[in-house]
C-alpha cells in the first residue's frame, strides 16, 4: 500500500512538473513523428539490420530536409527510435512493445525477416499501430487477417515463377533440379515456392535438402546432390550460408549448368566476397537500381533515389536498402493522405494507397502484402548484376555454365 501510495505521489509530482515545463518546450519538439525501428544491429543478422537502418536514415534525412511532413495544418519532423534486438526474435517483440508503451511511437518499422516480422506483428495489432515490413516476403506472415501490418516485398511465388519460365524457355534440355534450403521461415518458404514453380514447368526435383541454421559444413548435402546429377541447383539462405555453399560446391565438383541462389547475390558484397565463383549465379531481387519509376513519394524517382543514396553512402542500394527507404516514404504518403497522424486513420490511408514511387507501384492486397511489383531476375556476369527479366528493364541474356 505504502509503495503504491508513494509511487502515485511521485507520478503526480512528475506529471505536475511536466505540465509546468510543457509550455516552455520549443514547438518543434512537440511536432515530431516518432517511428520505432527494432533492428538486429548486432548478432548474425546485423548485416541485414544495418541495411534497414541505412534505408530509414536516408528517408528521415530526405523527409526532414524537404520540410517535414504536413498533416492537419501542422508540420512534423520525423524521428526514428532505434533499438538493437541482437538478432534475438523474442527481444524484437519486447522492444516493439516497449517502443509503443514507453517511447510512444506513432508508427513502427518491422524487424528483419519474415519470422521476426510475424512475431512482432501481434504487438502492433494489439496496440493498433501501423507497422510496415521491408523484409518479410513469406505469405505466412500475412495470413492472420491483421489490419495494421503492411509489407513491401511481394510473395515468394513472384521471385520463383519468372526464373522457372525464363530458364525453361531458354534451354529446354534442363530437366533435373536439386534444391538446398536453410531450415528457416523465409529460406524454406521461398525454396518451396521455387519447387512448385519448376514442377509447373515439368522439371523434375531430384533432391530437396534442408540444412540447420548455423551449419558450418555442407559437404554431405552437396555430395548427395552431386550423386543426383542435377542440371540446375537452387540454394536458399543468407549471405554467409550461400558463400560457404558456393565454395563447397566447387570443392566437391558439383557443377550444374545453372546455379540460382537467394538471398545474397543481390547484395554487392556477395560478388566481391565470392570472387570468380560468383560468375553466372542467377538470383532474384524485389527491387534493382536499374528500374526506372517516377513517383509521388518524397524521393520523386528511382534516379533521384539512386543519386541520394550514392551521395550519402556511396555505391548502389540493394532491395533491402530500397524497401526500407520506401517504407518510410509510405508512412509519409499515408499521413499526407489521411491529413492526420492518428494511427487508425493513417492505417486506412495506407491500405487504400495506389501510388507510384521510386520503388515501383505501391498497392497492398487485403492481407497487407504488396501485390503491385514485378521483382527482377538477374545474373552475376563479370562480377556485376545484369537484369534478365522483366523485358522492360532487361540488360542482357541468360548465360549457362558449361
Amino acid at each position: 500500500m505504502f509503495t503504491s501510495y508513494l509511487s502515485r505521489r511521485v507520478a503526480a509530482g512528475i506529471a505536475a512538473a511536466g505540465v509546468a515545463v510543457l509550455p516552455l518546450l520549443p514547438a518543434a519538439a512537440q511536432d515530431a513523428i516518432k517511428v520505432g525501428a527494432p533492428l538486429p544491429l548486432t548478432g548474425p543478422l546485423s548485416p541485414e539490420g544495418l541495411k534497414q537502418k541505412r534505408g530509414y536514415d536516408l528517408w528521415v534525412e530526405t523527409a526532414n530536409t524537404k520540410g517535414g511532413i504536413k498533416a492537419g495544418g501542422k508540420t512534423y519532423t520525423v524521428e526514428i527510435v532505434y533499438t538493437d534486438y541482437a538478432s534475438n526474435t523474442p527481444r524484437a517483440v519486447q522492444s516493439a512493445e516497449r517502443m509503443i508503451t514507453d517511447d510512444k511511437v506513432n508508427f513502427l518499422f518491422a524487424p528483419f525477416g519474415s519470422g521476426a516480422t510475424k512475431a512482432a506483428s501481434a504487438v502492433s495489432e494489439k496496440y493498433g499501430i501501423p507497422m510496415i515490413a521491408p523484409t518479410a516476403s513469406s505469405a505466412e506472415v500475412y495470413d492472420q487477417s491483421y489490419k495494421f501490418l503492411f509489407g513491401t516485398l511481394t510473395p515468394n511465388e513472384t521471385v520463383s515463377e519468372p526464373i522457372a519460365k525464363l530458364v525453361t524457355e531458354n534451354k529446354p534440355n534442363i530437366k533435373r533440379v536439386a534444391i538446398l534450403a536453410r531450415n528457416d521461415l523465409f529460406p524454406l518458404a521461398v525454396a518451396q515456392a521455387f519447387e512448385k514453380a519448376v514442377k509447373a514447368q515439368n522439371l523434375e526435383v531430384v533432391t530437396f535438402e534442408r540444412y540447420a541454421i548455423g551449419t558450418m559444413d555442407h559437404a554431405a548435402a552437396i555430395t548427395q546432390m552431386r550423386a543426383a546429377r542435377p542440371d540446375w541447383v537452387y540454394a536458399s539462405g543468407y549471405i554467409n550460408d550461400l558463400i560457404l555453399i558456393r565454395r563447397q560446391m566447387n570443392d566437391l565438383g558439383l557443377k550444374p549448368q545453372i546455379l540460382t541462389m537467394i538471398a545474397g547475390p543481390a547484395y554487392p558484397e556477395f560478388a566481391k566476397t565470392v570472387g570468380p565463383l560468383a560468375e553466372n549465379i542467377t538470383s532474384m531481387s524485389w527491387w534493382h537500381p536499374a528500374v526506372r519509376y517516377k513517383g509521388k513519394d518524397v524521393f520523386g524517382s528511382t534516379e533521384a533515389f539512386n543519386a541520394a543514396w550514392e551521395k550519402k553512402y556511396g555505391g548502389e542500394a540493394d532491395y533491402v536498402d530500397a524497401s526500407s527507404a520506401v517504407d518510410g516514404a509510405i508512412i509519409q504518403l499515408g499521413i499526407e493522405a489521411a491529413n492526420s497522424i492518428d494511427p487508425a486513420k493513417v492505417r486506412d490511408a495506407i491500405a487504400a494507397l495506389d501510388v507510384e514511387t521510386f520503388y515501383g507501384k505501391i498497392k497492398f492486397a487485403a492481407s497487407g502484402q504488396i501485390n503491385s511489383l514485378q521483382p527482377p531476375v538477374f545474373q552475376l556476369q563479370g562480377g556485376q548484376p545484369v537484369v534478365l527479366w522483366p523485358p522492360a528493364i532487361k540488360q542482357g541474356e541468360l548465360r549457362f555454365s558449361p
Binding site: P47, T215, A219, A220, I243, L244, D251, T273
Partner: protein, 288 residues
C-alpha cells in the same frame, strides 16, 4: 561408393574441428578456465590472415606464425593482467569473466571490421584432387594436415619440453607443482597464451575455408565445446579423436537423416557419452 566420399568429408571436417578445439581443451584442462573468448580468438586469427593476404600477399598458411604470435601475446597479457586475479575462484567466476571479455573483444571487432562477411580468394588455389569417385578439396586437406601437424607439435611440446612438463604438472596438481618450484602464475599465463596461439593459428587456417566475420565466433566456440567433451578435457589426442569423431558423425548423420539433423545427432551423441563415459573417449585423470 558415396560412403567413401562421405567418410572423406567427415575426416577433413574432423581435422578442422580438432584444430578449433585443442587450445580450448588445453586451457580448460590445465587452468580449469572455460575460455569463452576462444571463438573470438579464432576469428581474430582469421582477420590477421585476411589482412596479411589482402595487403601484403602473405599466404594464410604462412600467416599462422603471425596470427599465432599476436594471439599468444594477447592471450598472455589477458591472463597475466586480468584472469590471473581470479584464477583461484570457482569456475563460474572465470567463465563469467571470459564471457564479459568476449563481449568486449567481439563487439570491438564488430566496430573495427563490421559484421560483413569477408573471404580470402586465393590467387592459386590447390583445386580439387579426384581419387576415383572421391573428391578432395585441396586447400581444405592442406589446412587439415597443417592443423594436425600443429596439434601434434603441441603434444610434443607438452611431453618433451620443460615448459610442457611444468604445464602438465600444474594440470595434475597445482599445489604439488608449486612446491616443486614451478612458478604457477607464469605457467598459467603461458598456457593461456598457448591456447590463444592455437586459436589464432586455427583462425589463419580456417580463413581460406569459412567466410570471416565476428559473428562466427559462437559457432566455433560451440564446436570446441562438443569436441572437448567428446574427446576428454585437456588431452591433445582427445581433441584430435573428438574432432574426427564429431566430423564423421555429422557427415554420416547429414547423409542418413538430412543435414538439418546433423547438429541434433552430434549433441545426442554428446549426451549419451556424458552418461556412459563422462571423462570423454580418451580422457583420464592426470595427464599423459
Amino acid at each position: 561408393m558415396i560412403y567413401l566420399q562421405i567418410a572423406a568429408n567427415g575426416l577433413v571436417l574432423g581435422g578442422l574441428y580438432a584444430c578449433i578445439a585443442v587450445g580450448f581443451s588445453l586451457v580448460w584442462g590445465v587452468l580449469n578456465v572455460i575460455n569463452i573468448l576462444h571463438g573470438t580468438f579464432i576469428v581474430l586469427g582469421s582477420y590477421i590472415a585476411y589482412f596479411a593476404y589482402v595487403h601484403a600477399g602473405i599466404h594464410p598458411f604462412a600467416s599462422i606464425v603471425i596470427a599465432g604470435g599476436v594471439l599468444y601475446a594477447l592471450g598472455h597479457a589477458i591472463h597475466a593482467g586480468i584472469i590471473n586475479r581470479v584464477i583461484a575462484a570457482p569456475v563460474l567466476i572465470t567463465l563469467t569473466l571470459t564471457f564479459g571479455l568476449d563481449l568486449i573483444l567481439n563487439n570491438a571487432m564488430l566496430v573495427a571490421f563490421t559484421a560483413d562477411y569477408r573471404s580470402i580468394n586465393l590467387a592459386r588455389p590447390l583445386g580439387t584432387l579426384e581419387i576415383g569417385p572421391v573428391f578432395l578439396p585441396g586447400d581444405r586437406v592442406a589446412a587439415m594436415a597443417l592443423a594436425l601437424l600443429l596439434t601434434i607439435l603441441l603434444w610434443r611440446l607438452l611431453r618433451d619440453s620443460r615448459i610442457g612438463r611444468a604445464i602438465v604438472a600444474v594440470r595434475m596438481d597445482r599445489e604439488a607443482a608449486a612446491l616443486m618450484g614451478v612458478d604457477v602464475k607464469r605457467i598459467n599465463a603461458i598456457t593461456f597464451g598457448i591456447g590463444a596461439l592455437m586459436a589464432g593459428a586455427a583462425g589463419a587456417l580456417l580463413s581460406i575455408i569459412f567466410p570471416i566475420s565476428p559473428l562466427n565466433s559462437a559457432t566455433f566456440l560451440g564446436k570446441a565445446f562438443v569436441v572437448c567433451v567428446l574427446g576428454g578435457l585437456g588431452s591433445v589426442p582427445g581433441a584430435i579423436i573428438g574432432g574426427i569423431v564429431l566430423g564423421i558423425v555429422e557427415s554420416f548423420g547429414s547423409y542418413w537423416f538430412g543435414p538439418e539433423h546433423a547438429v541434433t545427432i552430434s549433441f545426442a551423441i554428446l549426451l549419451v557419452l556424458l552418461f556412459a563415459r563422462p571423462r570423454g573417449l580418451v580422457g583420464r585423470r592426470g595427464y599423459e
